[in-house]
């Protein structure tokens, strides 16, 4: 049994398909990143898995439980940071942790958890006086009180300064090292790449790509390409004198490389042309490039991403 198993999950709000038939599994001890633009359906998915919202169709099993029907049992075993975490304004982080410990009936040392999430300095400040990052850290602290094996972290680092983000990353890495399973949503691709074993990119309620970052880049990226800084005339010359596909925009000639040796042919042609050219480099699409291409709805010319019609259909529905 995998900690999380989702199959053809659907959830609509009126005409809006917030989650539109997604399937995925999360392995034990894995950090699974859920990426996607605003309104993609990440929070809806996560809250269905937490047993906070009811699904319309499909199946979801979390630690073997149906999250909605067995929410009360499930909640003892999971830890959650909701998106926009809030707490009682007039309580301090230490008091909050003590409260959760009483509710979960566990004996823990609040200071230990506070230390773990780097919140010792603000342990005695009222929640209403904490900064955004400190609040997030408190959310993380509360999610750890019941020592869960499975954590759901919905945008744990949104709005944090780079240091605070890195601090939370460290906590997440520490949790992973302890063998915990983590589902993480984020808008930061570097964060997903740094922390996640696998990511799923959601858009309009669907998963448009899933796997390790490398797999996704491999599958949906354009592959390696040679870029030469030069004129459009040079681009035409290379095109005319080689078998290669040559693109040009803004002073950069871009040539997809089916094999490394293609680069040699391209450069030979450039040299032959006697024209001037500048810097040369090869580059691959980053996850950023793939993400932007996958979720923007504009298909690239190479037709590397299938399912354009699906995209258009769902964007129409959203405009209603």
């Amino acid at each position: 049994m995998k900690p999380v198993e989702v199959n053809s999950l659907r959830k609509s709000y009126g005409n809006l398909k917030a989650v539109d038939g997604i399937s995925f599994t999360v392995n034990e001890g894995e950090v699974f990143g859920l990426l996607g633009p605003n309104g993609a359906g990440k929070t809806t998915t996560i809250e269905i898995l937490e047993g906070l919202r009811k699904k319309d169709e499909g199946t979801a099993k979390v630690l073997g439980f149906d999250p909605w029907q067995k929410g009360y049992e499930l909640h003892r075993k999971i830890g959650v940071i909701p998106q926009d975490f809030t707490f009682f304004e007039k309580q301090t982080p230490r008091e909050g942790i003590k409260y959760y410990a009483d509710l979960f009936n566990v004996k823990i040392d609040p200071d230990e958890i506070l230390k773990e999430v780097l919140l010792e300095d603000s342990a005695k400040n009222l929640f209403e006086n904490l900064s955004g990052g400190q609040k997030q850290k408190m959310g993380l602290a509360l999610s750890l009180v019941n020592s869960p094996d499975l954590l759901f972290l919905d945008e744990p680092t949104t709005g944090l300064d780079p240091n605070a983000r890195r601090a939370i990353w460290e906590v997440i890495r520490g949790l992973k090292a302890k063998g915990k399973t983590i589902i993480l949503t984020t808008h930061y691709l570097d964060e997903a790449q740094q922390l996640s074993d696998r990511v799923a990119i959601m858009d309009h309620g669907r998963i448009v790509a899933m796997g390790t970052s490398d797999e996704i880049i491999e599958k949906h990226g354009s592959g390696e390409r040679l870029q030469i800084h030069g004129s459009e005339k040079l681009a035409d010359y290379i095109r005319a004198n080689t078998e290669l596909k040559v693109e040009y925009s803004n002073g950069v000639i871009s040539i997809p490389l089916k094999q490394k040796i293609d680069a040699l042919a391209a450069l030979a042609a450039a040299e032959q042309s006697k024209m001037d050219w500048g810097e040369i480099q090869t580059r691959r699409d980053s996850l950023d490039d793939v993400f932007v291409r996958l979720v923007s709805g504009t298909m690239d010319e190479h037709g590397e991403i299938t399912g354009k019609s699906v995209h258009d259909k769902s964007s129409n529905q959203r405009r209603q």
Binding site: R53, K54, F87, D102, L103
Partner: protein, 391 residues
């Protein structure tokens, strides 16, 4: 199909599943956090405890001032004549003389009223009845008695009796050289001598039983819904019944503290008479429970905190003024009294008055029954409609 378990949970959360039994430890933990938050919030503290005291001081001062100057006395004039000339209407002259004494202010009551009942309804213990043919008897020098109602143990009644006998003597002297034509009979009124502040205390206790839990739960139940705090709590073992229980418990404690403070101020500042008996306990428990549930109901059925606030005020304000909080409802016009009878707070205040002022426990029992019934209905509705999580 998926609805069933949730429904079972709503109706009887106590029974479902071994792990879901109500836990006093969790209620205590939530109680601790909530009361700590409350005490740290100066605003809540002010409205919960200080404000009712200020009201007692203000209203008590306003009304005790006027009542110590002149005493209001209800008078029923049964002498309807006929009077051949106005000078022969001795009864009216007698009442006018009483009025100009300066110590009492006569308020006439229609001859058709049952006078004892009228006094009881108006919570008055002093009254005067002028008998039929009073003027004719006086003019023909036949002995006739004015009846003075009063409580022998009360100093106010003593002043009234003294004043009436003084005026009667004056009339006797004027015409008969002092021989006893107009005499006095005394009727003891068994209602205790009550002062405005005696009503004010149960009224304002009712006020604080209403206001604190009501406003607070309207606010937090809509606010927690908006900020998703309820969702967060649903991720802990705390159940919504436990959550509500801890709120009700807190407001019961607050009501008792506020009750003791108000009674102390009433007694020491204004010499109020209040009876403290175990009969008060049902009201101090049911009241906060009722209004906490009502507040939660309002917060639950409304979409956002703004609407909740408005609806909360619409529910609270009429109750605040028409249930006998600041003045006895008997002095209100009939149609307002009709409205008062559908307001739950009315029965709480009526019951508190029955216990604290009149020692009328039969009445208190009826009020307890009514309040219990209303509480059960509101509480059940609130628990049924209140959801931790969304569908």
């Amino acid at each position: 199909m998926e609805k069933l378990p949730e429904k079972a949970f709503m109706i009887n959360p106590v029974i479902k599943g071994g792990s879901k039994l109500v836990s006093t430890k969790r209620i205590a933990a939530d109680f601790k956090v909530f009361s700590r938050g409350y005490l740290r919030n100066k605003f809540g503290l002010f409205f919960g405890l200080i404000f009712p005291i200020i009201l007692i001081l203000i209203f008590g001062a306003i009304f005790s001032g006027s009542s110590s100057g002149t005493i209001t006395v209800y008078a029923q004039n049964k002498d309807t004549g006929p009077f051949p000339t106005p000078q022969m209407d001795i009864a009216t002259q007698f009442l006018n003389a009483l009025n100009s004494s300066g110590t009492i202010r006569v308020v006439t009551v229609a001859a058709s009223e049952n006078f004892s009942q009228y006094l009881a309804d108006h919570s008055a213990s002093e009254g005067i009845v002028i008998p039929e043919n009073f003027s004719a008897n006086y003019l023909t020098a036949q002995q006739v008695d004015v009846t003075v109602y009063g409580n022998p143990t009360s100093s106010t009644s003593g002043i009234v009796t003294g004043t009436v006998s003084g005026v009667a003597n004056y009339f006797n002297l004027q015409r008969f050289n002092g021989s006893m034509v107009i005499g006095l009979t005394q009727t003891t009124v068994n209602t205790q001598q009550t002062k405005y502040v005696d009503f004010l205390i149960p009224g304002l206790i009712g006020f604080s039983i209403l206001v604190s839990p009501m406003f607070s739960l309207v606010n937090i139940s809509s606010e927690y819904k908006k900020t998703k705090l309820f969702k967060q709590l649903s991720l802990t073992p705390l159940t919504k019944m436990e959550w509500l229980a801890s709120k009700v418990l807190f407001y019961i404690v607050l009501s008792v503290v506020s009750f003791l403070l108000m009674v102390a101020v009433g007694v020491f500042a204004f010499g109020a008479h209040v009876t403290l008996t175990l009969w008060l306990i049902p009201f101090l428990i049911l009241g906060p429970m009722l209004f906490a549930a009502l507040g939660m109901l309002v917060g639950t059925v409304t979409k956002n905190p703004e609407t909740a606030g408005v609806i909360g005020n619409i529910v609270t304000f009429p109750m605040m003024f028409l249930s006998g909080t600041f003045f006895p409802i008997s002095i209100m016009p009939e149609y307002l009294q009709g409205i008062a009878h559908v307001l739950p707070l009315y029965y709480i205040i009526e019951g508190l008055n029955a216990v604290m002022v009149y020692a009328n426990y039969a009445q208190a029992l009826i009020d307890i029954a009514v309040v219990t019934a209303i509480t059960i209905v509101i509480f059940a509705a609130a628990v049924k409609l209140f959801k931790w999580r969304e569908d």
